[in-house]
């Protein structure tokens, strides 16, 4: 497998959220605004890449029977580091994400990639896999967040994570007609369900096309 395919498969073919359906808890909870989603995505990329690298380095030493507890301890240590860094440098983001930074520990994507990829592949491949999967995760939650923030508040505001008072980019189209339901929990399920339905429809169409081609032969 070439390096590029490893990087790309996390973004498209094996997108952790839309295809593998892993790590949904955090993806639904923190997608009320785009800034939060991107912050969470960066945290996940950092943890996933470093955990993949460390586990790949240790893969020949870790005994088979107790590998899961060892993985969990490694991941928990990394998450705590990220959490403390975020508390120090991005306090507003830390407060708005709350317990969900700590819950990266039990995010199925991280443990899943450790088990399925990092424990069998070289360090560079594992790091690329981590970056690819992390970017895939970030793109997916950003999609959900854009839809929710746009419909829920009528516009999109992106703030500087290091200083929340500084607005990087903002626009507002239909503030008076915003549907606040989309910023509430029900809106998260609704948005995610609709995006999944669109993806599934495309997949069915593609399959039908392929079938028609084979039938034509």
């Amino acid at each position: 497998m070439s390096k590029l395919t490893i990087l790309k498969k996390g973004i498209f073919d094996e997108n952790p959220i839309f295809v593998l359906l892993l790590g949904l808890c955090s993806s639904l909870a923190i997608t009320t605004t785009l800034s939060q989603a991107i912050g969470m995505g960066v945290a996940v990329i950092a943890v996933l890449t470093s955990s993949n690298m460390i586990i790949s380095l240790l893969r020949k030493i870790i005994p088979e029977e107790i590998r899961i507890p060892i993985y969990i301890v490694i991941i928990a240590t990394l998450v705590k580091c990220v959490q403390m860094l975020m508390n120090a440098y991005t306090p507003e983001l830390y407060d708005s994400l709350g317990v969900f930074i700590a819950l990266i520990v039990v995010n199925c994507i991280i443990l899943g990639r450790a088990e399925a990829f990092a424990s069998k592949n070289s360090v560079i491949d594992s790091a690329l896999d981590g970056i690819g999967m992390g970017i895939g995760y970030t793109i997916a939650i950003s999609c959900i967040a854009i839809v929710r923030e746009l419909i829920g508040t009528g516009g999109i505001t992106l703030t500087n994570p290091f200083d929340a008072s500084q607005v990087l980019f903002t626009f507002s189209i239909f503030k008076e007609y915003a549907i606040t339901l989309f910023t509430q929990p029900a809106g998260a399920f609704l948005t995610f369900g609709c995006i999944m339905a669109v993806i599934q429809t495309f997949k069915i169409k593609k399959e039908e096309k392929n079938k028609a081609k084979e039938g034509g032969k």
Partner: protein
Amino acid sequence: MFNLFTLFVSLSLVNNIVLNRFYAICPLLGVSKKSENALNMGYAVTFVIVVSAIITHILYYQVLLPLGIEYLDLITFILVIAALVQFVEMFLKKTSPTIYKAMGVYLPLITTNCAVLGVALDNITAGYTLIEAAVAAFAVSVGFTVVIYLFSTIRERLEINLVPKGFKGIPISLITAALMACAMAGFAGLV
């Protein structure tokens, strides 16, 4: 006493863990195809959440805080949970092989259920006493069990209904969850 009751109602209904706070979405979608499995999962999770909440609470206030090593909370909690799940698995295997067989696959999954770690961390953040923490953990798991059971019964009905092709499976389940979340929002302001 009244405080504890308020806490119970608020955590099991008003701030329902699954539909309002998004913990434990994975088991909600994964294990809810059959109502029987959903109930068994609910019981197992209830046990693990309540016991782990009590143990982590004691560990945090009796060991981590006096020693000044609160920053080790995540690592300690996740190890307690992993060990507890392993213990439940071994215990069930020895005492009642039938239940063990029925939920065999789902048991190890409880370790990565965000609800367990989430409740342990929330209890510390909220500063509950030991009794409050135990009640909160029980309330949360009752909320989880009720929602996952109701959701699974709806999904059983959905299986035989006509659904547009694109919405079959996960999408329609998520939209069902959205409607349930709307219904749950009706409890807001109860406490």
